[in-house]
Symmetry: C2
Subunit: 344 residues, 2 copies
């Protein structure tokens, strides 16, 4: 079998949006699994802002991908050949399959983990759900909001990048918990979508509205939780609207991913003292032992029709660099995925 692959050819410059020009699209023979390995057909690939860190020259907490290697990325796939006792053909699994049609995966006691290599014991269709609502995006939204952010009924919750995958899920979780939810996003169409379809209480278009003035209007008593995906000016402005004992959840800072030169921090961090508040980052890998809490809850909401999995799906492995780039261009709406092959 032929295996199409995207291989890193040139690292993006710090201010360069990732694009097909950073990769070579090649066709190679499919590897044969050895003892203890499985061969997996890629069905759907996910995206994460962290993936830019794999390839960029800038500092990242992730291991750098060598030039020439197949681009790293999580996916859901189906086992087509197994030389591992715990897997058989037809099993559904999630793993870092990489940007390719077929991957040879080596499950071991070290690598078998919900966020590394994992068999999906009880698959839900479409299988893409295991990369979004029931995968890292859903768990990030759930634990970020409820564990780090300690959101509870009656709280006013503000979410940036609210039309992104994590933001759109976090807002819906907050609504399910009885919070008042305000989303900040970058177009009128996204504002309409999160308020009309996802039932956010209000939306702020940061490109056309004064975020500071709108937060004053929408949060006269201050906000209790800010779930921040963007950093930069929006973080700084929002820090001026904290209620006492507010929780600022640092989930990401995508607005500064292309910043060059000296970076500016949030001068309004001083309000953490004035409002006895907290700003805290988290790392979804730390929640692996509690994963089932999020998955069970999100799955039950999904099965009851009480949460929209907000999937935004491109089709075709050949489009994968553009699929990832959309996160940085802000053109996605919800969990950005690429459907490589139909569910079996």
């Amino acid at each position: 079998m032929q295996n199409r692959q995207w291989r890193l050819s040139r690292r993006p410059e710090p201010d360069e949006v990732i694009s097909p020009q950073n990769f070579d699209f090649v066709t190679a023979p499919t590897e044969t699994p050895k003892d203890g390995q499985v061969l997996v057909r890629t069905l759907v690939l996910g995206t994460s802002p962290a993936q830019r860190g794999y390839v960029s020259t800038t500092r990242s907490m992730h291991e750098k991908l060598p030039v020439g290697a197949v681009m790293r990325g999580r996916g859901v796939g189906v086992v087509v050949e197994s030389r591992h006792a715990a897997f058989k053909p037809g099993d559904i699994m999630t793993a870092s399959l990489g940007w390719q049609d077929y991957a040879v995966i080596t499950p071991t006691t070290e690598t078998l983990s919900i966020l590394n290599i994992s068999k999906v014991a009880n698959p839900v269709r479409p299988l893409s759900l295991h990369l979004g609502l029931l995968g890292g995006a859903g768990a990030t939204a759930y634990f970020g909001l409820l564990d780090v952010g300690q959101a509870k009924a009656g709280d006013t919750v503000v979410i940036s990048a609210a039309a992104g995958g994590v933001g759109a899920l976090a807002g819906q979780v907050a609504k399910r918990m009885g919070c008042r939810v305000i989303g900040i996003c970058g177009s009128a169409a996204k504002c309409d979508w999160i308020t009309r379809d996802l039932k956010f209480d209000a939306a702020i278009n940061y490109k056309t509205e004064n975020v500071d003035a709108r937060l004053t209007e929408l949060c006269p008593k201050g906000l209790n939780v800010f779930f921040d995906n963007v950093g930069g000016d929006i973080l700084n402005t929002t820090l001026d609207h904290l209620a006492n004992r507010a929780r600022v959840v640092i989930c990401g800072y995508i607005s500064t991913d292309y910043a060059t030169g000296p970076q500016v921090g949030p001068a309004n961090y001083k309000n953490l003292l004035r409002n006895r508040s907290r700003m805290e980052g988290f790392y979804i890998f730390d929640y692996v032992p509690r994963w089932h809490e999020a998955e069970d809850k999100l799955r039950s909401w999904f099965e009851a029709g009480a949460i929209d999995p907000v999937e935004d799906i491109d089709h075709g492995l050949e489009n994968m660099p553009d699929t990832l780039a959309s996160l940085f261009k802000g053109t996605n709406r919800g969990v950005k995925l690429n459907r490589v092959a139909p569910d079996p």
Copy 2:
């Protein structure tokens, strides 16, 4: 009796160090207490960076003092005349006595509180201790370090303004809890003092040493708690040395109190995500219900000779503006106080 008073005459400019030129030193007749009031002789006056906020034109979470009014400030005093059933002459109390020899105080159910008007049930000599180790400074150090900072045995704790009142007490509390303690301060003499006399494990002179390089050397595995009193560059640099799950306690930001123009925030706040860490402000008034925890512990350490109350005492009400100014000039060493009259 004649009552000497410092009255606010002119608010300091944003970049002006507070000085006697902001006040008039006047002599007025002592007021007579009415029913429900007590007349208190000021014995010792305390200082706090927050006092600049009372009089400056810049934003503050405290009520502004009107021009012409007696400068506000906490003190310990002795009741000389009482028309309140719960107080009698000779009682020791702490209250906002103001910068004057005699104050008329009105204890009510609303104002009787450990951080407002309070009778010292069980006085310790010298009575100045009730403004420092057993007052706000001690409680701020104690709860900031142990409750907000969650410092525990084996932790590496970094403290800025380590030779200030709160810093020098926090460092000693951390040592008592079994932490490794590194202080950052602004002179070789202060570095000597905190390491030799207060038994900090190490000190960094930020005026002559590279803080970043020294932290790398002293905290090869990162720090677990940063107790920050200064903000600015030191906060930003220290945020680059967090261990995972570190706690950054925002107690103050005195380095930026005179900053004019646009303020710069800590760009390294991003490490809160990279290191799944937390930055949190607190307000000592929130700890009033738990006050006895700090006071009992600090008192028992003091009585056992296990903690130095680090009092730095000026003498004479006439010097009070300079006493306060020393906090901003960094010339104090420990809890800065002014002895107005001898303990009775």
